[in-house]
Structure formats: C-alpha cells, structure tokens
C-alpha cells in the first residue's frame, strides 16, 4: 500500500500510473470509513444472531434515540479533532446544561427561553476555552481538562449533588420523548445536526480551513485566513453541541443531574477516532464519525440484550476501539499517520 509516486515523473506522468494513484488516494481517503462500516456491519450481524430482539424496529429506534446526544457532540468533535484540537469538557457541559435547564424550568422560565439560554451558555463556555487555546496558545488538552473539572464542579454546586426534576407536563420533555412521523424527535434532531455538519465539513470554506489548520496551520494563516478565530469557533461548536445534548438528555430523563455524562467525552472521542478521524489533525470524516458513534451505541445496546453484564460494555468497547484503529493503521497506513 505504498502511495508515494516515484520521483522524476513530474514532466511525464503516464496516465495509467496517474489513474492508479487516484484510485489509491480515494481508497485511502475512504479506507477508514470502509473499515468502520465493515466493523459496524459485523457488530450488527453478531448481535442479530445471538439475540432475538436486536434486529427489531423498536430496538433500532431506541438505539438512535439513545445515541442522539453522542451523535450530535461527535459531529462537532470531528471539527475540533480535525483542526488538531481536543475538547474534554463536553461531558461536563452536558451535565451543566442538563441541570441548569431543569433549574430554570423549575424557576418558571418558558421552555424556548431555556433552550436559547442553554445554547448561549454552551457557546460562551466554548468561546472562553477557545480563547485560551487559540489566542493564548495553551494546549487544548490542558484548557479543556481544566474545563472538565470546573464546569462539572459548577453543576454540582448548583444542585448540591441532587438531580432536579422537570415537570412532566412541560412541553420541554417533548424534545427528548416525542415521536414525529414514527421517529423519535432526538433522532431527528441528530439527523439535522449531522446533515449540517456534513455539508459544513465537506462543502464550505470553513470546513476546508478546519482541515487545512489541522494539516498546516501556518500555511492557512499565510493564505490570509484568520486561523485563530477558526480555532476558537470549533470550540464554540463543541460547546453548543454539548448544550444540545444536555437539553435532550434532561428532556428525555425528565430530570437534570449533575452526574450526567460522566465519561461522555471519552465515548465521543472514541466514536470520532473509531470513525477514522486522525487525532493528529488534518484528516476527518463526518460519515465515519456517524458510523463510529453508532458502533459504540450498538455495542452497549447489544451487550445488554445478550444478558451480559453491563460492566462488560466498557471493556468490549475499549478493546474494539484498539483493534479497529490497529487494523485501520495496518491496512490503511495513510489514514491515521501523523504528518
């Protein structure tokens, strides 16, 4: 699988050879997506065979309903990681927005205002972290690790550690529980976010700059792009996505818990990396992220249906991530190598 073309072919590239490298390029570009798609199918087939209830419409809809927060945040995280960053604070932002939305609803605020306030809060948290990362040049890992701790702490402080109930008659709970055209609303929200993310990532200058910054930030800066603002902006996206996830979770569970989303950031990063996005930046795929997130969700669901101990889930998930990335790394060297 060697893709480097031999030197000296600049002036006389034979068409045959050029065709080959194009084909290989496409295979490498999509190799990670192809491998995660195969993995996804294998996991689905295994659970369909060993359980009776996996491959039923209610269960499949249940999976997409439950994985909506993961899908939404993973889509935003794909931008962050492709730009060469990381956001460890998304689980904490999810917990904070879930609890605060329950608190604000209890205080009598109308639900649309609560939703807008939570989105603004997510954006503000993202902007603050993005400022330290993009303008003050502190490594994203450190900034968002601090954010993970501080934001979770704020959520715990507000609630005193208790979960705050949401009035079941409030329209708010529909965001997490309603069905529309036979599909759960959270799944529809996730679908909308994913379509927007796909278009933004692949079809807009913004998506191009995110990839470029991950590959060679200095080149993008020299081309006259405001790379620092772009870096800040991807953290605004991940903060807002985490807020959406928090709202959906609070609405679905009918309560806001400051302990929600423990380890959620790791599931999100696992989904993104499993999908073939490079942790080194410069390479990302939204389709891969969707498949990665669904794989993580299906494993969790399938193990429960197979009456296995739920404590097996993290073990199996972790093992599959390592094996999948390892295969990916071996079979499609281009997909995960660093620059």
């Amino acid at each position: 699988m060697n893709v480097t073309s031999s030197p000296g072919n600049i002036g006389a590239l034979p068409p045959k050879r050029a065709h080959n490298s194009t084909w290989k390029d496409v295979a490498i570009a999509n190799g990670s997506v192809v491998s995660i798609a195969l993995f996804f199918i294998v996991v689905c087939v295994v659970f369909s065979l060993i359980t009776n209830s996996f491959l039923t419409t209610p269960n499949l809809l249940n999976i997409v309903r439950q994985s909506a927060p993961l899908l939404i945040v993973a889509a935003a995280m794909t931008f962050v990681i492709t730009a060469g960053g990381i956001d460890l604070s998304v689980g904490s932002v999810l917990a904070l927005t879930a609890t605060l939305s329950a608190v604000l609803l209890q205080a009598g605020l109308p639900w649309p205002l609560v939703v807008i306030a939570m989105l603004a809060l997510g954006a503000a948290v993202g902007a603050l972290q993005g400022f330290f990362i993009a303008y003050e040049r502190i490594p994203a890992f450190i900034v968002t690790l601090a954010g993970l701790s501080v934001i979770r702490g704020v959520a715990l402080l507000i609630t005193g550690g208790y979960s705050i109930p949401v009035e079941p008659t409030s329209f708010f709970v529909n965001i997490g529980r309603a069905w529309f055209l036979g599909v759960p609303v959270p799944a529809l929200l996730a679908l909308v976010v994913l379509i927007i993310a796909y278009l933004a990532f692949n079809r807009t200058p913004f998506g191009r700059y995110v990839t470029g910054i991950g590959a060679n930030a200095e080149a993008v800066r020299r081309a006259g792009v405001d790379t620092r603002f772009m870096m800040l902006f991807v953290y605004i996206l991940s903060g807002m996505a985490a807020a959406v996830a928090g709202i959906i979770l609070a609405a679905r569970l009918g309560s806001g818990s400051s302990n929600a989303g423990q380890g959620f950031e790791l599931d999100v990063i696992a989904a993104v990396v499993l999908g073939g996005t490079s942790l080194f930046g410069g390479r990302g795929t939204i389709i891969g992220t969707v498949l990665g997130a669904l794989t993580v969700a299906v494993i969790g669901n399938g193990l429960i249906l197979a009456h296995m101990s739920p404590f097996l889930t993290p073990i199996v998930t972790g093992t599959i991530i390592l094996v999948a990335i390892w295969l990916n790394f071996r079979l499609f060297k281009g997909a995960t190598r660093s620059r």
Partner: protein, 266 residues
C-alpha cells in the same frame, strides 16, 4: 551597477538591517527589470534570505528605500507586499498535505457559490480553473483532486510556485525551489521559472545550486556577510568565478579591502 536609464520593476537602495550586534544587511542594493530572472547567491548567513524577506514584507529594514515601478513603497507586512504584487514562495512551501491540489491553489480565496446566503465551495469552478492554470504553466498533474501528500517533491514545488504565480504577481521571490529535488524534477521547476518570467514576471531566485543559475538567470548578484559584493551578467561569468565570489577569497585579493581578510579565512 546597471543603470541604463530603463525603468526598474524593483529598486532597493541602501537597505540595512541589524539584529543585535550582527549587521545582517549593510547598505545593500538590488535592481530588477521586468521579466528578468535574478539569481541571488551567497554563503549561509550572507543576508540573501533577509533581503528577500525585506522585499516580501516579512522583515522591516532599519534604513533604505524600496521602489516598485518607480513608486516608493514601504512594507510593514506580507499583506502590503502582496498588494504591491510581490509574491514569495517559502522554502517550506506552505502546503496543506491533506487538502487536494485545487484546494491548495485556492487556499484562502476559494470560489464560492451562495445557497440561501451560506457560502459553499464552488468545487467545479475551482477544479476547472485549477486545470486551466496548471496547463497554462505547463505543470503536469493528472488529477486536481489528488491530495498534495501523494505528490512528488517536484510536483509539490510546482503547486507552490503555481499558487504564487496565480496571484498575478509582478515580482516572484523563490527561496531554494530546487533543493532536495530529483534531477528531472529540477528541470521541470526550472522550466516553470522560465514560463513565469516569459509572462513578464520578474523573478528573484535564491539557490545554492549554482548550475541552476546558468540555466535560468539573466543576472547574478552575490552577497557576502550582509553586503553586495558582485553583480554579473550570466554571459560574462562562469561557475568558478561565482564560487570564488561566494567564498570570498579571490574577492579579497581583487578588491583592496584587506580589513575583511580575517573574517574571510575559512
């Protein structure tokens, strides 16, 4: 000095720059005519990179003046130089490996198509214009959708030069464009330099590969320890003479500047 009354594209006079105790540039001049290819040579630390950065706006000189097409200019950033149509191809090429050929050529100025007010990439136009641009400059790349990381060193260099040329510059500065290239690739890059200068672009070529100078340059300017030491028309000199000028030995003997003798000893 060449002073035959013609209008110069670039006229740099009395440029000096000091970094702490080191006088990097000491009263240096540089003249360039339209469409001319000037080879700028000198040993490491001779000041050729700094001089080119002064012209590209990346370094602000302590003193001296720059005229472009007879007008005095003062650059405080690379953006100013670009506005005056001076482009520089950096030695590290400034390419994004995981972005395709067209994406790199149009980085930062992608053709856009608005749908519902949202700017989308106009991919078809971008690839069509890239193809046109590559053909015009004689750069052979099979597919504009190839990622740059899959190209050879010479192809990457060509993309970087093509990118600079596409800004329609009047002056193009190239820092070591042929370093670390295979023989056939050097030829292709030199062809590209000829093609660019044939379109009226003045080129400043910084290189350690002296044989390249004799293939593309009209004139050679030699720098030594921050000074201009010699200027030769390409027909009036030889590779041996240029080597001696760069190293400085014969130069010391020829001019009577004995005070520099100690510094010159290898």
């Amino acid at each position: 000095m060449m002073s035959d009354g013609e209008t110069y594209r670039v006229r740099m006079t009395g440029i000096s720059k000091r970094y702490g105790p080191i006088q990097t540039l000491d009263d240096v001049s540089l003249n360039l005519k339209p469409g001319e290819v000037l080879g700028l040579v000198g040993d490491n630390g001779a000041g050729k990179s700094t001089l080119s950065k002064v012209l590209s706006g990346a370094v602000i000189p302590d003193s001296g003046s720059i005229e472009i097409d007879g007008k005095v200019v003062s650059f405080s950033s690379p953006a100013d130089a670009r506005a005056a149509r001076v482009e520089m191809v950096y030695q590290d090429l400034s390419l994004c490996d995981t972005v395709d050929v067209a994406g790199n050529l149009f980085l930062g100025r992608e053709p856009r198509r608005r749908v519902l007010g949202i700017p989308f990439l106009d991919n078809r136009r971008m690839h069509d214009e890239t193809r046109e641009m590559l053909d015009r400059l004689g750069i052979v790349i099979a597919d504009t959708r190839l990622k740059v990381e899959n190209l050879s060193g010479g192809q990457r260099q060509s993309i970087a030069i093509g990118r600079a040329a596409s800004f329609d510059p009047s002056v193009l500065i190239m820092d070591e464009p042929t370093a670390a290239l295979a023989v056939a690739e050097v030829e292709a890059v030199l062809d590209l330099i000829r093609a660019v200068s044939a379109r009226g672009v003045s080129v400043i070529l910084i290189t350690h590969r002296l044989q390249d100078l004799f293939l593309v340059c009209d004139r050679i300017q030699v720098m030594y320890e921050g000074r201009n030491v010699a200027e030769r028309k390409i027909g009036d000199t030889s590779i041996e003479e240029v080597v001696n000028l760069i190293v400085g030995r014969k130069f010391v003997a020829r001019s009577a500047r004995a005070s520099r003798d100690e510094a010159v000893q290898p």
